[in-house]
Every structure is written in C-alpha cells, then in structure tokens.
Symmetry: C4
Subunit: 214 residues, 4 copies
C-alpha cells in the first residue's frame, strides 16, 4: 500500500465535473467583457443622430468583444472535443485543465489590453502569449491522456494525431500572424482575426462530411 | 482519408456541453442587470416615506430588469426546446449556437440602452435588431439540424415545421411592434412587451394539452 | 391537430436544463454580494490594530452576506427537492420556475437594502415581500406539478402534502417575524434569522432518520 | 409517521445538483479576481517600454490572482473527489457543503486582503482562518458521510481514512506555515505557497500509479 499516494489515486477522476467547471468559467468569461460596453451618457446625446454617433463610437469596443467571444468559443470547442474523447481523468490531467482554465480567465484581460493598445507590440505579444499558453495546455493534456491510456477505446491513432496536428497548425498560424507585428501591429491583428474566422467557419467541412465515402 | 477535415469531424458533437455552456451564459446574463439596481443613498433618505419614494424612483429600472429577464427566459425556453430535440450536434451547429449566445450576452446592454433612451427610435432599432438576431440564429440552427439529419428520430415533420412557424410568427409580431415606432416609440415598446407576455403566459395551452383528444 | 399549441406542447420539458439554469443563477447570486465586501483602504490602516479594527468595521456587512447566502441556500435546497421529484416539466411549470429565479436574483438587492436600512419598516417589508414571493412560487410550482401529474410515480400523497405544509409553515413563521417590526425592526430581523437558522440546522432530523422504525 | 421530519427526509438528496451548484460558485469565484486586473491607464503609457513597465507593475496582482486560482483549484479537486464517492446526500450533508461553498466565496476577499497587507499578521491570520474553515468543512462532510453510510459501497476503509489523513496533513502544513508569521509574514506566505505547489504538482504520483504492483 503506497500510502502517500492513496489520496491522489482517487482524486480528480470526474470528466463530467471538469466539463461543468469549464462551462461555468467559459460562461462567466464570455459575459465579463460586455460589462465594459457602457450605454452612452445621456448628457452627451441630444437627438437621434447624436445617439447613432455615440453607438458608432463604441463599435470598436463591440468588435473587440466579438473577437474575444469568438476566441473563447474556439478554445471552448477545442476543449469540449478533447473532454468528449476522455474515458476518465486523473489528478494530473485535471490540473493541466485547471491551468488551461486559468489562461481562459486571462483572455478578457489580454483582449482589453490589445484593444486599448492595438498599436503596441508589447500588447500584441501579451495577447499572443495568452493564445500560445492555451494551445500548449490543450496539447499537453491531449498528449498526457494519450500516453497514459485515458482516452476512450474508440479513439483511433488517426483521431489522436489529427487533434495534435490541428493544435500545431493553428498555433503556427497564430505565431506567424503575431510575427507580422514586426511590420505593423494592425497587419498582425488582421492576420490573427483571419485565422480565427477560418477556424470558426471551417469552409468545406459540410461537403466533406456529407460525401458518400468519408 | 480527408485529412484537413479529420479534426472538424470529431469537434463540437456534445449537445450536453452546449446546453451547459448556454445555461452558464444565460445564468450570468439573467443576474447581470440586477447589479445596476443600486440601493438608495443613505444621505438622501431621512424617514420611511423618503425610503419608499426612493424605492419608487428605481421602479422603472426594476421593470426594465424584469422585461430583460423575461426576454432571456423566452429565448432560453426556445433554445432549450431545440437542444432537447437534437440527437447530436456537429461543429457548424455548435458555432451557430455560439453566435446565438453572443446575441444573448448583448441583450442586457440593448435593454439598458432602451431603458435610458426609450423615446429614441435608434435605441428601439438596436433592441429590435438584437431580438431579430436571436430569432434568426434559432431559425438557422433548427433549419441546419433538420437538413443535416441531426434531429432525434421521433421529431416528426409536424414538430419540425411547428418550431419554424413559431419563430417566424414571433419575429413578425416583434417586427410589427418595432415598426410602430414610426408612430411613437412608447407604443412600440408596449406592443413588444405585450407580445412577450403572450409568449410567457401561452393562454389556452393547458386546456389544449389536457384535452382527451389532443 | 391543435396547431397553435403544437410548439407549446414540446417546449420546456427538460427538468435537467431547468436545474442547470437554476444552479447557474444561484451560483452567481451567492457570489455577487461578496463583491461589496471591500478590502480596507490602505491609507486608513497604519498598524496591526488598525487593520483589525478596519476588519471589525466590515463585520456587519459580512454577517449580512452570510444571512443572504443562507437564505439563498434554503431556497436552493427547497427548489432542488422539488425538481428531484418531478418526472418531467412542461412550459407553464418552466415559467413558474423562471419567475421563482427572478425572485432569487432580487434577493441580494433586498438583503443589501435591509442591511443599509435595518431600522426602516419599508426595507423590512421589501425583504419580506421577496421571501414571500419565493415561497409563493415554490408553492405554485408544486401545486401545479401535483394537479397536472408531473410528479414522479413514487411521490406519495404524504410527501406531496408534506412539501406544501412545509412551505406554509415556513412562510407563516416569516410573516410572524416580519409583523414584529410593528414593535421593533431589529426584533423582526432577529426572528427571521432565528427561523432561517432553524431550517438550516433542522434539529432532530438525523435522530428521526436513523431510527429503526422510521 | 414522523410528520415534522417528513420534508427533511426528502430534501437535499441530489449529489449531482450539489456538484452543479459548486461548479457554478467555483467558476464565478475563479473569474472574480481577474476583474481587479486593470488595463494600464493610457495617459500614463507613452511608448513600448512604458507599457512593459506598466504591465510589470501589475505583475504582483497577477501572481496573487494565480495563487487564489490555485487555492480554489485545490479545494475544487478536494470537494469533487469527495462528491464522487458519495452514493447519495441528505439535508445535513448538503448544508455542510453549502457552508463549505460559503468559505469558497470568501477566498477571493481574503486573498485580496493578504495581497494588499502582506506584511500584516492580521491579514495572514484571516487568510489562514479561511483555509482552515474550508479544510474543516471538507473533514466534517467526509466524516458525516462515513458515519451515516452515505459513501458508495466500493469506498473501502483505506480510501476513507486516506481522505481524512490527507486533510489533516494539509491543514497541519498550512498551520505550520501560518505560524511562521511570528518570524516574518513573507516567510509564512512563501511556506503556504510551497505547500500549495506541492499539492498541485503531487510529485511521484504518476510513477506510483503506473507501477505494475500498485
């Protein structure tokens, strides 16, 4: 009986609870930034046109919120996909996911930072480090689950490596986009948004799924 | 083996997780606006009557909060009904629902905007666009699920088209209500609230369900 | 085919989703008030004794937070008990519960109001109306579920009426406590807290459960 | 028929609901503190170097947030492990867990207090009392469940006592760390962080689990 590890062996096994905690944290994170969207001050608005202009003035903030929401959505789908394929968890895997969730709670902050300082490379670097951290944790958790036999029996080697390749591809594109800040930070942001839109829309996916010989 | 789509084919399949994320976001959204209900400043209140007046003064805000809560409730019931009839999800459907949830997080903002600027058509238009966006996403997700065979086997064509008709009816009534702002924005708000109350109360529903020959 | 009600007949059936939404709303509500607990300003604290006094100064707020948390806990247990005994829901029952949840989100506000104006009958009346509303909604939902055959098959008439009696008893005690404000509002608050503590502790419960002949 | 206890006997039985409420509260708690991380004021930042310095200036807050997140993570894993081994709950056990959750919502406050007043023993004592309260509630709930036969059938006496030992060990280490504040509060904080890191990393765990003769 390996006494000091007896507790650790029974800790953190529930994938469902991990999923529920994640959904709670993502749910709060996805609504936090909207708190920064302030209704225009009524002293400054005197007619319809004034209100329309005031709303246009907070549009950049709104777009930044949309971008943050989409980024959280991408990582939520990624994490959900991984958890779906887990047969069970263990305490190390649980902690890798908690680290991932820490990165999730920071994302609204890095997005706000980038929105305020979009012409600063430092802000872009901070945003990119956040994305990199999230990708690394997803990669680490998948690799750990694969090596320690925590995946479901029906997850073939094909799916297992597809997930890894996907993370590496996405992170390479993000890194490339971030590197463009050496030219211009706005170019860099545009590239990152383009990568994100690509992953949201996934063009060609339905055609591939619907094909008779998948 | 269609490699670039291998990941997409396993992503976003869990209806349960989508439901859990939605409940988290609705839960936060439904409590956010109450943060704006401020307890009256104690410097301004000197006796029972003063406190009663101070509470009356924030009643309009309270009613606006109730209206926002009811609207979120209507869309929560709508989305829950749809998810209940899904056999499974896929990545496109998941993203349509995430877009829907984005609209949900904006609703407290548009409600506040309308509360502050209830005599402005611009505010009413913004509120109506939010409602329209939510309805469109619900319609899109149901249509997508129907066309791609993601509905449960026991969902007959009757139920499928009842859901579509319901969304179109509700949205037509909302659009009609919004159009009344050409006359008076307050008339418009009253009409929208009346439509919402109708959908909350659903008069005649129990009688119909309880009838021997349904 | 009763067309206008076809949608209503399939809407709002999921007890699990209703429970998940409730847990989200209770979870947010139970943490909202702690945001009002402010760490003492460092300008006002110069030594250990100063910090201890500053913490003592926010103790009343802390106790009010504990009271609000306990009240939410009582109603969470009540609502959870009801939902556990539901076989299924329907759209009316779902809306009664959403109304209940509206009362839940107001509770942090009424508690803050009472904390700030504990010597005002108006504040006590507002707090009591909130409690009364919550109890009424629980009573309405249980009665509706009972009359319309939505309870699980193993819920005997004994349990069904025990739940009703419980709500009426608790509400009578709260009303009695609130009526004491005609003498002194502080007496009234003490009585309400005593009732709450009684329901939290439930003295004699374990002895009764553990007895050989229950 | 023991009438006054009839309600209590059916109340609070759902472990799943208790888990869902906990995940909601932990989820909100884990994101609350990030609200205090403020993006640097743009008036104070004039170039890349200025932004980098401004970010460095809020690094201590960031570390404190990480520490609070990790502490919540530790107690989340602990509570999740306990709930996983419960066969069912009853109303007393539910209330012990609600008390535990109360301590959880206070943790962001005590962490902020310690961050602001890290050189004050009073702040350290408050933080430690919070940790002690959480540990005590976990111990109480496990003991109660064990004594009243609420654990799952497959939980052997070995696991049952391993959980108790674990809590006592951890709390002893925390108490020892807190006692170091008699020398220096910073030494005390370092010791507590070291204990937390040890429990997060759990060195040697995988080796023990993966060994052929566990």
């Amino acid at each position: 009986m390996d006494s000091p590890h007896a507790y650790n062996r029974v800790a953190g096994h529930s994938v469902e609870r991990l999923a529920a905690l994640s959904d709670g944290i993502f749910g709060v994170g996805m609504t936090l930034l909207v708190l920064d969207l302030r209704v225009p001050e009524s002293e400054l608005v005197h007619d319809e046109r004034g209100l329309a202009y005031a709303l246009l003035a907070i549009l950049p903030q709104g777009i930044m919120y949309l971008m943050s929401f989409a980024t959280l959505g991408i990582f939520w789908v990624g994490q959900q996909t991984q958890l779906n394929h887990l047969d069970r968890s263990d305490r190390h895997l649980t902690w890798i996911h908690i680290a991932f969730l820490f990165g999730v709670t920071l994302l609204p902050f890095s997005t706000k930072l980038l929105a305020e300082y979009y012409h600063y490379r430092t802000a872009l670097a901070a945003y990119w480090l956040n994305i990199l951290f999230l990708g690394s944790m997803l990669y680490a958790s998948w690799g750990y689950a694969f090596r320690n036999g925590l995946l479901k029996a029906d997850v073939g080697a094909g799916t297992a490596s597809a997930v890894c390749r996907r993370i590496i591809w996405a992170q390479s594109l993000y890194a490339l986009g971030a590197a463009l800040c050496l030219v211009d930070t706005r170019l860099s942001i545009a590239a990152i948004v383009a990568v994100q839109l690509y992953y949201v829309a996934a063009p060609g996916y339905r055609r591939a799924v619907g094909s008779p010989n998948p």
